[in-house]
Structures are given as C-alpha cells and as structure tokens.
C-alpha cells in the first residue's frame, strides 16, 4: 500500500477509525474526507492532553495552568501561521471556515473604511460552496450592493473570459473558492487576485478544500483573506481559521463581542484589542487549537507536496476507473491538471442517494446530494451527484472498490 509519495500503511495505522468495520462487517472505505477527515491518534492525544494536563482559560488567571493553556493556544496560532507562511497576528481563530467568511462579510457592512455601500459590487462564482455564497448575498441585501458572479463552463472550470469586465471599479471584494468541493477544480486565484487588486478590490479565497490538500503560501496565493476549517485537515471540529492581511484586520470592526476582545469597558462604551484578539471573544477553544496544531505537525511531517502528489495519483486512478464504466459521467475536469481530489459523478438511471446506499452496504462512505453547492449543480445540469473525496490515508485498492461498487449498484438497479 506504500505509494511513492507516502507510506500509506503507516499513515493508516495512525487513524483508529480506519480499523473499524461498518455494515455487514465490511472494512471501512472512507471516501468522504471532503466533508470531514478522519483524525489521527496524534491529534486525539493532543486534545486529550490539553484537557488532562493544561486545562484552564487562556489569556486569564495568574496560575501555571493558565499560562500553559495560553502557550498551547498561541503556540497553535504560530504553527498555523508558519504552515501558511503568514504572520501569527494575521491568523484569527474562528469556529470554522463558514464563521470566518461571515466575519469578513459582517466587517464589510459595518461602518469603517472597508464598508460596502449601495451601488458597490461583490463578485463571487457559481462554483462556490454555500458558505462562500450566502454570506455575500446577505451582505448585498444589507448594504444595497449588487452581487455578480463568474459562470462555470460545462467542463466545470471558471469562465474567466470576462474577468476584466466582471471586476469593475465598483467591485469591493471578490470571493472565490481555492478548490471546488464538488469538481475538485482549482481556479487560478493568484491571477484573479491580480485582476482584482488592479481595480482596488479585495480578495477572499475559500481554502476549506485546498489548505488540507496542497501547499498554500498566502503571499503566492495573493488573496487578502483565506478561510479554512480544522476538521477537514485531520484536526478537531469547532475551530477554523481566518487569515487576513494585517492592515485589513486592523481596519475591521469586531464581529462577535464580549470578554477577551476588549481593551477598556465603561458603561458609556468600550474599546477593543488589536487583531487577532479583537475577533476572538470568550474563552477560546484551547484543546481544539492544540489538536489543530498537532494536525499541522502531522501534515508538515508528511510534507504537503507529498500529500498533494499522493492525492493526485488517487484522483488520476479514479478518473480512469470511472471513465471506464458505461453510464458514469464525471462532473468537472477529466484530468488532474488544476484539479484536486474531489470526484463527483452521475450514474445514469441510478439516483445519487441510491448509489450512496449501495456503496454504504459495501462499507464505502461517500457523499450524495448537492454537497452545499446547489447553484454549481444547476450550472452543470444535474440535480444531485455522488462524490468520492480522497486524503492521505486512501489507497488505490479503495479506488478500485469504489468502481466495483458503482458497477454493483448498476446491476442492482438493472441499469448496468
């Protein structure tokens, strides 16, 4: 099972969930990492150790445990920053990527120099996950700004032919995925960012599906904001990241307010701490941050280049295997060029729910439905799809199991 890039067998041994059986005593074939990844024992140990040994409220208390908890939390921030080649004060911990987008969308509708006003424009794409779509619709409703979007081509790429006219002098922010959670498409964020910056627009990249799977350097990426979730990159639930360029975070008003983020509070009004604390009210998720730091260590030890290469080989295999099945249509790019490891497909005559049910019976976990990307499915002319998504622990045998399972579903429903 060892690939040229990763010792997959050794990796799998770190993931307790992969050792269990599922329906009909079948071994688990987990092909749903796009929804959430499994967690290695190193992450679970870090979370447990935070609670067992260092449990205290960070940034408070004059006791040793409080200091240790603060070190864990701020140490996690430094690790995440290094992982992105960013500065620690540019890393804000949020609940998840969704909250991070909402934080930015809120800040852009509040008074201040970044405020979006009636007549301004917000540019998104048809490819977005609802998390990078609905908050912008809401921002436009609040401010009277106009929402515009880039279309998707039939191949599942972004249509960039009109990029220069879609980004206008009125465009205040361009929000774009860095890797589609459905088609795996990797849009040219750096190119889009250059075009946006020329017109004075900000850029937010949704890295929920890219940061876990490929090396990401925020300077090379060129985006002003980058959001992602811990739980999709081997880490715990309940913590996510907003990277923001320091001078932008500095100009942004707080989103959620309360303790920990204030400078001085009087009955007449309050002042706030500088970023990132300004955006982190309440006792923070210390154990989750420690778990995320362990996940970053784990991925760094594997090497993100190796992670990306391993997934590319699995994706190439999956595209080949699925193409060979009559009646299967792959959504999105049919090569691995600028494409990550989410492979969504349709099976002629068998609804995705039914495909997923048959695969589940074989122990194969996939996602079915519209994957929180309803407009993208409409653009591709499908109501719903089945999605397999790969990660560090997946094997080529599992890709073959998927293909066999699809054939079995076709036979079961009398279409294959």
């Amino acid at each position: 099972m060892t690939s040229v890039h990763l010792d997959v067998e050794a990796v799998r041994a770190d993931f307790p969930a992969l050792a269990r059986t599922v329906r009909n005593d079948k071994p688990l074939v987990y092909l749903d990492s796009g929804a959430t990844s499994q967690k290695p024992v190193q992450v679970l140990d870090a979370v447990r150790s935070a609670y067992e040994q260092h449990n205290a409220a960070a940034h408070r208390g004059t006791h040793l445990l409080g200091e240790e908890a603060t070190d864990l939390y701020e140490g996690a921030r430094a690790k995440v920053a290094a992982f992105l080649a960013a500065r620690p004060d540019e890393v804000v911990f949020t609940k998840n990527a969704t909250e991070a987008v909402n934080l930015v969308a809120y800040a852009l509708s509040a008074p201040g120099r970044l405020q979006v006003r009636a007549g301004d424009e917000v540019l998104i794409t048809e490819m977005e996950h609802h998390a990078n779509l609905v908050p912008w619709q809401q921002l436009c409703e609040r401010t009277g700004a106009t929402l515009r979007w880039l279309d998707v081509t039939p191949e599942g790429r972004l249509d960039l032919d009109d990029l220069d006219t879609m980004i206008t002098g009125r465009t205040r922010i361009v929000a774009v995925t860095h890797q589609s959670n459905v088609t795996g498409t990797i849009p040219p964020v750096a190119e889009i960012a250059r075009a946006a910056h020329e017109k004075g627009a900000l850029v937010l990249a949704d890295g929920a599906q890219s940061v876990p799977h490929q090396p990401v350097d925020v300077t090379a990426l060129g985006a002003d904001f980058l959001v992602f979730s811990s739980h999709k990159m081997l880490g715990p639930y309940g913590i996510g990241v907003l990277f923001g360029r320091a001078e932008l975070l500095e100009a942004m008003p707080p989103f959620l307010t309360g303790g920990s983020m204030i400078e001085v509070v009087r009955m007449e009004g309050s002042t706030f701490l500088p970023p990132p604390q300004r955006f982190e009210p309440g006792v923070p998720a210390i154990a989750e941050a420690a778990g995320l730091a362990a996940a970053v260590d784990y991925l760094t030890a594997l090497g993100m280049d190796n992670v990306a290469a391993h997934e590319e080989s699995l994706t190439a295999h999956a595209l080949d295997a699925l193409r060979e099945i009559d009646g299967v249509r792959i959504l999105g790019p049919d090569t691995t060029k600028d494409r990550g490891g989410a492979v969504a497909f349709e099976v002629d005559g068998v609804h995705p729910h039914d495909v997923g049910q048959v695969l589940d019976e074989l122990g194969i976990a996939v996602r079915t439905g519209h994957h929180c990307a309803w407009p993208l499915h409409r653009a591709l002319g499908v109501q719903a799809s089945t999605r397999a998504s790969f990660y560090v622990y997946n094997t080529h045998d599992e890709v073959d199991a998927l293909a066999d399972g699809i054939r079995y579903a076709q036979r079961f429903f009398g279409t294959g």
Binding site: R23, N24, H351, P352, H353, D354, Q357, V358, E361, T368, G369, H370, W374, H377, Q383, A384, F412, F413
Partner: protein, 151 residues
C-alpha cells in the same frame, strides 16, 4: 446484504412505473416541497370534492425529481389517498409517519397501509426517512391548504 430489505420489489416496481405521476387540472392547491439535504423535489396538486358534506380526495397529481425511495413513496401515497375521505387519508398518513419513525421495528397494519408496508426497511436508515416522507408531507400540506380554500 440488507439492500433487499430496503429496496423491496414493491418499491422498485413503483419507482420504475410510478402511479398517478404528472400534473393534472383541475386542482384546489399546489405545493412545492424540497429535501434541502439532497435537493430532491416534488410539486404536488390536490383536488378535493364534497361527498355528503365530507371532503374526499378526488385526485393527487405530482411531478418529482428524486431517488427511488422518494419516487416510489409518492406513487404508493397517491394510490392510498385518492378516492378516500380526507380524514381517513390523514389516518393512513399518520400510520405511515409512525412506521417511518419505528427504526425498523414497526408492525405495520397491511390492511391500512397496503403497499406502503414495504417501506419498513427504510425506517432503519435515518438518512432516508425524509426521502420516504417527502411526497406524504407535500400531500398533507396541499390538502390542508385545499381545506382552507374550501372553508
């Protein structure tokens, strides 16, 4: 394999040859319901008639997109409620809802639920219960609206 317990032949037959499908006139109420998890959707019309002062389901017609379970369930539902007094059809609907909440343990009344007893296997799979209920919930909603119009 337990697949056969979910996908009983009755269900697959209704899926392949759905009864009463297609939107028809006249109708008293029309609703559009979706399952936001998967995007399955149904547009459903209900036509009621008055028989000796009691509302009776004259017709149910629908157009739908969805999985085998949701399609078959809508077909079985239309068979069960068309021609029945609304009160009786609501009783059947309630019995089906209880069957779906039974986690595979239900002892359905075949005299009441007829082909719908085949869905007992579906109730073991929480993710699929909504599929089986989509058409029924649309029918209940449309019928309630049609009753309001009648009043």
């Amino acid at each position: 394999m337990q697949l056969e317990s979910m996908y009983q032949d009755i269900i697959l037959d209704h899926y392949r040859n759905p009864h009463h499908k297609g939107l028809r006139d006249p109708f008293d109420a029309e609703v559009h319901h979706v399952n936001p998890v998967c995007g399955d959707e149904v547009t459903l019309r209900v036509s009621l008639k008055d028989v000796n002062g009691e509302p009776v389901v004259e017709d149910v017609s629908y157009d739908s997109l969805g999985c085998s379970i949701s399609q078959a369930s809508a077909s079985v539902m239309s068979d069960l409620v068309i021609g029945k007094p609304v009160a009786e059809a609501m009783t059947i609907s309630q019995a089906f809802l209880e069957l779906m909440q039974s986690k595979g343990e239900g002892q359905p009344d075949e005299g009441l639920l007829e082909d719908a007893v085949a869905f007992v296997g579906v109730s073991k799979y929480p993710a699929r219960i909504k599929c089986a209920l989509l058409g029924w919930m649309a029918w209940k909603d449309a019928t309630a609206q049609a009753m309001e119009v009648a009043q």
